[in-house]
């Protein structure tokens, strides 16, 4: 039997670990050319890590911010399904849903979705989601100031840190052959398009081709 207390402790642990890396988002974002205010607004109002990194990554590489936004929203589509799986466990009225939606992210879903009662699902979900939100925004601000002070992002390898951050987000999805194939095709198609299309487009097209390939791929069973 899981106690309420252990759920809260676990949730705060996940919150601390995840919230801390807002500092890397903040630093990369201002080094990419966003202002400190823009960086903080993104963390406060978008609040979904992979989408935020994608947006600043595309802006940094000279891509159109609208292409960046499109990529970010596509990456955010998984939150739609997190919401679907959390809804019955949280059991919320319409007003509560509006107040809750912002906290639907990878970690809060992971910490809430496996609970057996509504009470414990809510404990895991809200303690994780809200602790990450508070810390993520504080560390974003600190990182944004640091990134601004550094100036040229290349000096401390911040441009390379973006690739590492993306790889960290991708890593759990490389556990299956289908995941590896899709990531590899996305990378190959995007790279092939770099010389021929406007910055940002290779990412959207590469991602789309890769998803299509992943849907069509049927592993040969021996």
């Amino acid at each position: 039997m899981t106690t309420d207390r252990s759920i809260i402790v676990d949730s705060l642990g996940v919150g601390l670990a995840t919230g801390a890396y807002g500092v890397s988002f903040g630093a990369i974002s201002t080094a990419s050319g966003l202002s400190v205010v823009q960086t903080c607004v993104v963390s406060l109002l978008v609040f979904t890590g992979a989408s935020q990194f994608a947006f600043v990554g595309i802006v940094a590489s000279g891509g159109n911010p609208l292409t960046g936004a499109l990529t970010a929203v596509l990456l955010g589509s998984r939150n739609l399904f997190y919401g679907v799986s959390m809804a019955p466990r949280l059991d919320l009225d319409p007003a509560a849903r509006l107040a809750t939606a912002h906290f639907v992210i990878d970690e809060s879903t992971a910490m809430g979705v496996t609970r057996e009662t509504t009470r414990q699902a809510r404990l895991g979900f809200y303690w994780t989601g809200i602790s990450i939100f508070v810390l993520w925004n504080l560390t974003t601000f600190a990182g944004a100031l640091a990134g601004d002070a550094i100036g040229d992002p290349r000096t401390y390898g911040l441009d390379a840190a973006v690739g590492a951050a993306f790889l960290g987000l991708l890593w759990p999805r490389l556990a299956t052959w289908r995941g590896r194939l899709v990531a590899l095709i996305g990378a190959a198609v995007a790279l092939g398009l770099v010389p021929f299309t406007a910055a940002g487009l290779p990412i959207v097209i590469g991602g789309a081709v890769a998803v299509l390939a992943g849907l069509l791929w049927r592993p040969v069973t021996p």
Binding site: S24, G33, S35, Q38, L45, V46, A50, A54, G57, V59, S61, N64, P65, L66, A69, T71, A72, V73, L75, G76, S77, R78, L80, G83, M86, A87, R97, T100, A101, H102, V104, R154, G157, A160, A161, G163, A164, A165, F166, L167, G168, L170, R173, V182, A183, I185, G186, A187, A190, L191, P195, A199, P202, I203, V204, G206, G207, V209, A210, V211
Partner: protein
């Protein structure tokens, strides 16, 4: 700068709408197997593409430099189960050090 704000606005509205819709729509609407599988694959495809462009593109040219080495270091550290933040910092430092040589 204005375009950056426009991009941020689209992202804010789009990302919130997806989260809110998930909590609100009847689950049956999104249970088509093809939809479920496509959404599962989107992050892998986009992140793969993002990594390739971030690490190897320089404007409209493809260039191998310290960024690729930094990505290799990140992969090794991830395989060793090093947590996210130290992994990112170490990867950035490797790129910075290599450029000092």
């Amino acid at each position: 700068m204005t375009t950056v704000w426009a991009g941020i606005a689209i992202m804010v509205v789009g990302c919130f709408a997806l989260k809110y819709a998930g909590l609100s729509v009847p689950p049956s609407v999104l249970q088509h197997p093809l939809t479920v599988r496509a959404v599962e694959l989107i992050p892998a495809g986009l992140l793969g593409a993002l990594i390739a462009v971030q690490v190897l593109a320089d404007g409209s040219a493809v260039r191998v430099d310290a960024r690729l080495l930094a990505l290799g270091v990140a992969a090794v550290l991830l395989a060793l189960r090093v947590p996210f933040l130290p992994m990112v910092v170490a990867s950035a430092l490797v790129a910075a050090l290599v450029r000092q040589l």
